[in-house]
Amino acid sequence: MSEEALIGLFVATVQFGTLVFLAALGELIAERAGVLNLGVEGMMAMGAVSGFMVGLETGSPWAAFFAAAAVGALVGGFHALVSVVLGADQVVSGLALTIGGLGLAAYVGRNVVGERPETLFTDLGIAGLADIPWIGEIFFDQPPVVYLAVLLGFSVWFVLARTRLGLAIRAAGESAPTADTAGHSVMALRSGAVMVGGAFAGAAGSFLSLYMAPGWVEGMVAGRGWIAVALVIFGAWRPGRLALGALLFGFTLALQPRLQSFDIELLGVEVNRISPALLGILPFVLTVVVLVIISWRYRHRPSVAPAALGLPYRREER
């Protein structure tokens, strides 16, 4: 494997990692507030198509990015309405969001399929740092969304771990009655978390349609929303571990095409003979492995998952 190819592998790792990290970070916020949202795939599709359309119209990738976030928040708001406000089953509502979001995105975008965007996100090439061999190309010559994602990761960690708001959000996710007793509106906390989560997923979708694969075509999210859902479990609901997991998942995504192009031998096994179809499910396999490990490690202790995750809260049913 040449040096250029190896650098390329890590460049793609960071980009695919950013894509699933952004979406998973949003899902993490919602889940820490106690709401499981399986609609990430649908929200990403809506973000991808609306971001792309705004990008076509305005020529500004940032306008597109924030429009996609707004649409994601709106779609997430639907899940909040159904599962938080009305107290419907979160799994059903989330799955409906995925199926409906994919369908709606296909409908909304039917006339822009095959359109060519004029302005896209471009790589930043941070002065001075981008020229460092290896590290520069991998970490300091990426599109701005990558750095924004890092910033958002720190912000989410800070808010959740170090602020009163974060404490309230976590309380809503661990024990809604407790949060309620403390004077917080569980409904507002959860709805807000789901909508912010939707905004993250929508923004991730626009990163896909405005940078990674410029354009819109039905089905272009291609299961990455589900990888994001898996990633939250993999990251044990902690932003830091989520970032590490995102890089690992990004690496498996970047590895899939590259393994075929190079002869790599590990311990006498020709690694590149592994089926690319099998490689595609590696993130899910890793998630199941981590699930087993954490359920084993936490078998005598409370779970790492937010205790009230998936449970609707109605005050009078306490």
Partner: protein, 394 residues
């Protein structure tokens, strides 16, 4: 807690299954099965449809209806079929209706087709995805007065159900000649969807063409196992470029490999349609579909009452497949040679899989002077010498 974990794992696994199933279903461009068209017995028409109360107000005008698997704006497979529909409408004067993005499930196709037949008075229905085949066969039995024509399939009957496809390997060979001449690294990357005969045939034809203009060329294949994942397709092209290729060819429906090539300052051979607008600096040429003349011919035959079903596999001679215009910087002598070979393919004096052809292991698969038969071409499972990659990757 254990229960919750169980639920989550279940949901993730279900999602995985959904994703996997989606990949399979969305195969809009499937290969004809190896079996040459045989006369499948028409299913017993269980229920004769009630005589339609004259759904055709204009008696002498033929109504053709097209069922597309993707959106007409996809710049690829469905776009090409829609161009054919428009051409046929103009040529024949018939009404040519269409519905786009129809899933391959039986219920979906049936609902759309029945609407065409009962409400629009359709006389002929074209279905443009492999997965429509069985439903079309059933409908052909139920509606003997309507003609059903199926792209890329292999089933037919004696009266009103035929199939059609094109010898895409012919213009693929020509596009390979151009690509072989344009590569300076002698390495071409080929982003390919699934290891099925149609795709293998295209890769082999492309490679043989590239070897004609550049004996040292290697064609590196990268499988994506998807028709619809632009991010992965683009990244596969990037991986091939990083591995040393400087020209990208593809058997995918998105333009993502071309955008990746343009980004890297490399060149690109697209597929389905002339995609030069998407990556003008990278574009070399493309093997393209041209369905119009076939559609016009079938509609005319239906109008005149002379239609008989067939298993049509037309080539450059029929114009159903062609090569898009070459980029300006393709050398003149290469362009002239491409014209010459195109003329041979068109007049039938020579075909692509003419010996001697060896497979990757050096075994002779077509002896000198012999030409491979259609059946063998439709069931192709090997790579020719010069292809780097695995013809059976799973």
């Amino acid at each position: 807690m254990a229960k919750k974990f169980l639920l989550r794992s279940l949901v993730v696994l279900t999602a995985l299954t959904l994703v996997a199933a989606g990949c399979g279903n969305d195969d809009d461009d499937a290969a004809p099965a190896p079996a040459p068209a045989t006369e499948a017995p028409a299913p017993a028409a269980t229920e004769a449809p009630e005589p339609m109360d004259d759904p055709e107000p204009m008696d002498d005008e033929v109504v053709a209806a097209f069922v597309f698997v993707g959106p007409v704006g996809d710049a690829g497979w469905t776009w090409a079929h829609d161009q054919g529909r428009r051409y046929a409408e103009t040529e024949t004067g018939a009404t040519a209706l269409f519905v786009e993005s129809v899933p391959e499930t039986a219920e979906d196709f049936r609902a759309v087709a029945l609407d065409f037949i009962e409400n629009e008075g359709a006389d002929v229905i074209f279905g443009t995805s492999f997965g429509y085949m069985d439903t079309m066969e059933e409908l052909a039995g139920e509606y003997p007065d309507v003609v059903f024509e199926h792209a890329s399939g292999f089933k037919m009957n004696d009266t009103n159900f035929g199939n059609y496809f094109g010898r895409m390997y012919q213009p693929r060979y020509l596009s390979g000649m151009a690509a072989g001449a344009m590569t300076e690294a002698d390495q071409i990357g080929y982003v390919a969807a699934f290891p099925i005969p149609e795709v293998l045939r295209g890769i082999n034809a492309f490679t043989l063409g590239a070897q004609r203009t550049n004996p040292d060329v290697e064609v590196h294949v990268n499988w994506t196992f998807t028709w619809f994942d632009p991010a992965l397709e683009g990244d596969a092209a990037t991986a091939l470029l990083e591995a040393g290729a400087d020209v990208i060819a593809m058997h995918q429906d998105s333009t993502a490999p071309g955008l990746a090539a343009q980004e890297a300052g490399a060149r690109w051979v697209s597929y389905n349609s002339d995609m030069s607008a998407f990556a003008p600096d990278a574009f070399i040429t493309a093997p393209v579909w041209n369905w119009g003349p076939y559609y016009a011919r079938i509609i005319d035959a239906v109008a005149e009452g002379t239609y008989t079903p067939g298993a049509y596999w037309g080539g450059m001679a029929d114009g159903i497949v062609a090569l898009a215009p070459l980029a300006d910087d393709v050398p003149d002598e290469v362009a002239a040679e491409i014209d010459e070979v195109a003329a041979q393919l068109t007049d039938g004096s020579w075909d692509v899989f003419t010996g001697e052809i060896r497979d990757q292991d050096g075994n002779v698969v077509v002896a000198a002077g012999e030409t491979m038969e259609d059946g063998a071409m439709l069931g192709m499972t090997f790579f020719v010498e010069g292809v780097v990659g695995d013809a059976d990757p799973s």
